[in-house]
């Protein structure tokens, strides 16, 4: 087991390194530079000299790459040209925002998705199953950012029930220091989280319905019924426990989905997270913010897969035994 974990972690680090390397070279190959006239107003000459020396911007690209890796090894992610602050700081501000958004979306996704999927499986081929199935298929087919725009139009602009964007009220609540401001934050979080969560929930429901149906037909479920257990107990204990196994794959897959969705949803709701930071940095050729974002997102994806594999081992003893033997 330990050997397996060590090997997986080593492979994960190699993957992240490869992603960062690719991103580094591609974004440097892109036309334009952070110092072109149109953006140079935001960078003072002193900073340019300092960064040029620190990262060897006047040297060949491969030298810059080696320098970047050396800086990375000491925990220095470089400096943002446009934001005039260390990349690590910019990321440290953005990551919690994306994380909270993704977590809230994940909760909605799994809670709604699981409940719907189980309900549909239990009432297979009833009117409710068919109607919900079609609604789920439709919602799952929507572009997330478009659903975001529609929710924004209906709930923020027409009904004024939610704010049109941002993470908190900039005047009343510049930082999270009171219960009222926490409420304000949740109020701002609702629409973006619903947008991401509902599209995901529709997919989860479809997946969970299929998994549950497969399990319900198994003999041990029949056995459980035959020995006179309550239907609720049969479904929620005997069937669901086994139907959750494929669900774990979804946990791993949810990470890239949420990160991808977050890029667009954050743009729609002006949510100051990783996605918005990355999109802006790519457009402005803010090299080290882009590579930093690549580092963080690929680490999250790889971690998600690792966690899913570990959860598998915990949930399914057969895998644990095989993993220990290997």
């Amino acid at each position: 087991m330990i050997v397996w974990v060590v090997r997986r972690v080593a492979a994960s680090i190699a993957i992240v390194w490869a992603v960062v390397t690719l991103t580094f070279f591609v974004i440097h190959a892109a036309r334009g530079s952070p110092f072109l006239p149109e953006s140079s107003q935001s960078v003072d000459p002193e900073t340019i000299v300092r960064i040029t020396n620190q990262f060897g911007l006047d040297r060949p690209l491969w030298v810059q790459y080696v320098l970047y890796l050396r800086n990375l090894a000491t925990g220095n992610l470089g400096e943002s040209f446009a934001l005039r602050r260390p990349v690590a700081d910019a990321l440290a501000d953005a990551i919690p925002n994306t994380f909270v958004l993704a977590l809230a979306a994940l909760l909605i996704d799994f809670a709604v998705g699981l409940a719907l999927g189980i309900y549909q499986a239990v009432r297979e081929r009833s009117v409710g199953d068919i109607v919900l199935g079609n609604i789920a298929l439709f919602v799952n087919s929507m572009p997330t950012f478009w659903l975001g725009l529609v929710l924004l139009l209906v709930f923020a602009q027409r009904l004024h029930a939610f704010p049109v964007g941002g993470i908190s009220d900039p005047v009343l609540c510049p930082r999270l220091d009171s219960a009222a401001c926490l409420g304000d934050f949740v109020w701002h979080l609702t629409l973006p989280a619903l947008t991401l969560g509902l599209v995901g929930a529709a997919g989860t429901a479809r997946f969970q319905r299929a998994a549950m149906l497969e399990v319900i037909r198994q003999e041990y479920v029949r056995t459980a019924r035959a020995k006179g257990l309550q239907e609720r107990r049969v479904l929620l204990v005997h069937a669901l426990r086994n139907a959750l196994l494929p669900f774990i794959t979804l946990v791993g897959l949810a990470f890239p989905f949420l990160l991808t969705g977050a890029v667009l949803v954050e743009t729609v709701y002006a949510w100051p997270g990783m996605g918005q930071l990355a999109v802006r940095a790519i457009l402005q050729r803010d090299y080290y913010v882009v590579t930093g974002a690549a580092l963080v997102t690929s680490t999250m994806v790889v971690l998600g897969n690792l966690i899913a594999d570990l959860l598998y081992a915990v949930a399914d003893p057969r895998i644990r035994v095989r993993g220990a033997g290997a």
């Binding site: 490869a18 992603v19 087919s141 478009w146 602009q157 149906l213 497969e214 890239p256 790519i282």
Partner: protein, 308 residues
Amino acid sequence: MNIWNWVALSGAAVLALIVVGAVRRRAGASASGRRFFRHPTAAPGLFVLTFFVMVALAAPLVAPFQPYEQIDVDHLQNHAPSTRYILGTDPLSRDVWSRLAHGARISLGIGALAMFVAVTIGAAVGATAGYFRRWVDTALMRLVDVGLAMPRIFALLVVVALWDRIAVPVLVLVIGLTGWFATSRLVRAEVLSLREREYVAAARALGARPSRVIVRHVLPNAAAPIIVSAALGIGNVMLLEAGLSFLGMGVPSPAPSWGNMIADGWSKMAVAPWSATFPGLAISLVVMALNAVGDALRDALDPRKEAV
């Protein structure tokens, strides 16, 4: 919309119905065809797809205006849907329906072609890895691990930044080139089991070269999962193209794609919701139809999963 546009549009709908009917009759002859149409959403899904393909093909006939035409910049911005402009006009006074019809060509075309690129590469890489195993397999699959570790939209944004104004064929290639990773894993898994079959051993014993064995004997038997993943993948590509165009990094502006139509209409969402709402509905409908057809295809081509 004038009378001829309506005639053309109804013609497209009737033709789509006829096509679906004909396919259904044909499909009735085989077990997998019957399984396909037993899926309740298969026929409606197929109809929606055929209908939009017809609209795309007949765009000049069903659209009353040119997609770029700014009908009256002074008085016809954000005109609400009416009999003349059935889906309204956008902030630049262009007819939304005309752009939607012409945009179908670009959006559906990108979806289908990019998926074709992705599936071709994915099948080739997956088959090579699965057939030769050893270091070839290791090298290719590590590459796939790297590709899958980058959220796709992020990878695409970085790559698209290489061009100032990306041409649509290049966009198709770029989307295809970043989309084959999952398919290759799927094909590899399939090939790993197929290569041990006796007919493969027989072909090899007869002296067939590996390329022939893969193309003639292995891949045709792995076709079912490839087709299903392609059908489901087209929808994914369309969503991706929409997202990219929405961020202003996909199809460049005057050309209509459903994604950049949403982007164009977004700023006036409060006063003229139609110009961003209808293209989004069109994407949702087509992707839904693709998902429905993909699900039905899975049931039809993979009888093992029929029970579900």
